[in-house]
Symmetry: C2
Subunit: 222 residues, 2 copies
Amino acid sequence: MRIALLGGTGDIGQGLALRWGYDTGHEVLVGSRDPEKARTKAEEYETELDSRGVETTIKGFENAMAADRADVVVLAVPAYHLVDTVEAIADRLDDETILVTPAVGMKRDEDGFHYNRPGAGSVAALADEAKPDDVPLVGAFHNLPAGGLANLDRTVEWDTLVFGEDEDAKGIVMDLAREIEGLRPLDVGGLANAPEVESVTPLLINVAMQNDDLHDLGVRFQ
Amino acid sequence: MRIALLGGTGDIGQGLALRWGYDTGHEVLVGSRDPEKARTKAEEYETELDSRGVETTIKGFENAMAADRADVVVLAVPAYHLVDTVEAIADRLDDETILVTPAVGMKRDEDGFHYNRPGAGSVAALADEAKPDDVPLVGAFHNLPAGGLANLDRTVEWDTLVFGEDEDAKGIVMDLAREIEGLRPLDVGGLANAPEVESVTPLLINVAMQNDDLHDLGVRFQ
């Protein structure tokens, strides 16, 4: 499968690129608004994987070019760029492409980070409104520690909550999650259940901020 | 320490009563609006603990009577009874009493459970507004599976997120949590961080509803 990581030069994009590169045979494309930056980072990921004995080709493209080539498009961009990004790639998507949002909106005050719930109901709902109707949207990979994912010496021991209205698309994304060793996808129903998923991310940051011995936190449901 | 569990005849009250009874030497008081029901449940908990070789006395009282006698008062009541309950016991509290809220407001639709965030900002903020000013409020024990707590054969392997403005009171509640074997308290800062904690509970229910092999779920941050 060919997976485009839009905003793949950022933290969570790097983590997912390295894990899919390391644990699976899927082809990873790094997308960015700046194609030069995408190519540089793609090379960096290739080098990191090569140093660990994994020979793989990771290519960098401008976001729309990456989306055009992919079966699965992950919107690994900040929440405030989500709608822009979806609009910029909309004509490259079709009903064979699965759009994935790990995006979370947060605001910060003196107490910590807080979920900044959009009027649409969730960040995922914003993406849902912006995308072409026939393209399935799946939410996943919100509550993962980017640093822990990107550090291939670290054992993955986290769950990722997956939601969406299209069961087939959700199943494919859950499979992609499951192929990352130690990552367990958990079905959490439809788009209406997005806000509770998205609001776990600021919670993880607050826990890490308050506890010196905890950082790069994910979550396990048990 | 003397701990009153108001609404202690309910699921989460039962779980906490049994675990504190089993794992610690603290005195547990069961509170209810109906003192007869409180006494019946208190006896039930005593019998369960006795059958496991733990001799302890658990007494039942009307909520205000239980609160009057306690060092720590846990509001183990549904969110829609929280303010009523605090108002009913307010004149029995003083600055030596710690008020603890595990309450979460939820609503349900066809997709699952959702966090019903009050206008005050959180359920904990409602309790904060209703209580006397000099009584410290701590949030804890929101995201625990009541059935799993109440089943003493089940190993506890969960975290509980603890927040509040009074550091001493928070420390005492964290100690009470830590004394339950396998339960790890995690400091998550002040009252402003309550909504993200409270919204984990509907998420746990949604995950359990969607996954047949998962039930009575708690959470571990790692």
